[in-house]
């Protein structure tokens, strides 16, 4: 069922265009990675501050609250490119083990948000008063870094499964 849906989806005009145009896929992939680079520092800053490994001159709430909206903007940009990329070759990616791993890791990011948002990220001001910091907060920050790191590596690995990423766009670029 999921497979037939993905095949239908990848053949809609938009996704067929991304797949068949020589430029769309490489440009979107570059934008995907560019936005990851530009906005990844915000996740790093948030989590490093909570862990107390950086930005210690500023309070936790100050960093967490100020970066909340910019991080969401970044996520939307990265995810938009990512969805265009993945759905354009949905049938092929359906069988790619690293796509599956990446999806599971992204689902874990959602679980992470459900578990920690109300108790850590929404209570940043309260965390400033607590010394030492609760294990829960440090666990949230550490797991966040670990999850995003794994997602970046799984994402790179997707291109190593035959037939994906660069191979058939080569002709289009030259």
């Amino acid at each position: 069922m999921l497979l037939s849906f993905t095949i239908w989806l990848q053949n809609t005009d938009l996704f067929a265009y991304v797949r068949n145009s020589g430029y769309a896929y490489p440009v979107l992939l570059s934008l995907h990675i560019l936005c990851i680079s530009l906005f990844g520092g915000m996740i790093l800053a948030t989590d490093m501050r909570i862990l107390g490994w950086g930005m210690r001159n500023h309070s936790i709430s100050d960093i967490v609250n100020q970066l909340r909206v910019p991080k969401r903007v970044g996520f939307v940009l990265v995810a938009t490119c990512g969805i265009l990329l993945i759905v354009s070759k949905a049938e092929e990616y359906y069988y790619n083990p690293f796509v599956r791993i990446k999806m599971v890791l992204l689902a874990l990011v959602a679980v992470h948000a459900v578990v920690f948002r109300s108790s850590v990220y929404n209570k940043a001001a309260a965390l400033d008063q607590l010394k030492p910091l609760p294990v829960r907060a440090k666990l949230a920050a550490g797991l966040s870094l670990l999850l995003w790191l794994s997602i970046a590596c799984a994402g790179r690995a997707i291109g190593y499964i035959s037939g994906s990423a660069g191979s058939h766009h080569y002709a289009g670029l030259l």
Binding site: P26, G41, M42, A45, M48, Q66, G166, Y170, L173, L174
Partner: protein
């Protein structure tokens, strides 16, 4: 004389090095971008650009070191493929410019309480150079085959 690069003895080496390369540049570019976004007034406005530069300086250096070192090893697996590839040369040129710019004019403007206009200009140049580095790098992977 022909010496086999030991990095080519395993198929896993290249992808693993690439992960180090990618995570390294995410940390490096991400930390510089944080300062640039601040210069543009887009985030962390409670902090000064100078404070953020001091806060993220070490991350930038660590990210750059990991990324460049992994990049050199990646290059060494097949130098012929890369040094004849024009996107690669553009990328390396922009990278050199971006690094020099970051530690000279960028710094100077951040710590000299320059006018908002020059802060914005410097942020745009810095971001522009890093964008070219990333795009150049992606283009390398699509053309150096």
């Amino acid at each position: 004389m022909f010496i086999e690069n030991p990095l080519n003895s395993s198929e896993l080496t290249f992808p693993v090095l690439e992960c180090f390369h990618i995570v390294g540049f995410i940390v490096a570019i991400g930390s510089v971008a944080l300062v640039d976004f601040r210069l543009l007034g887009l985030c962390l406005r409670h902090q000064t650009p100078g404070q953020l530069t001091n806060d993220t300086n070490l991350w930038t250096i660590i990210g750059l070191t990991v990324s460049v070192f992994a990049g050199l090893l990646l290059f060494s697996t097949d130098p012929d493929k890369y040094y004849l590839n024009s996107p690669f040369l553009v990328k390396i040129g922009c990278l050199a410019l971006a690094i020099v710019f970051n530690y000279t004019i960028h710094r100077k403007v951040i710590f000299s309480r320059a006018s908002p206009a020059s802060s914005r200009a410097v942020a745009c140049v810095s971001l522009g150079l890093w964008v070219l580095v990333v795009f150049g790098g992606m283009l390398v992977s699509f053309t150096a085959i």
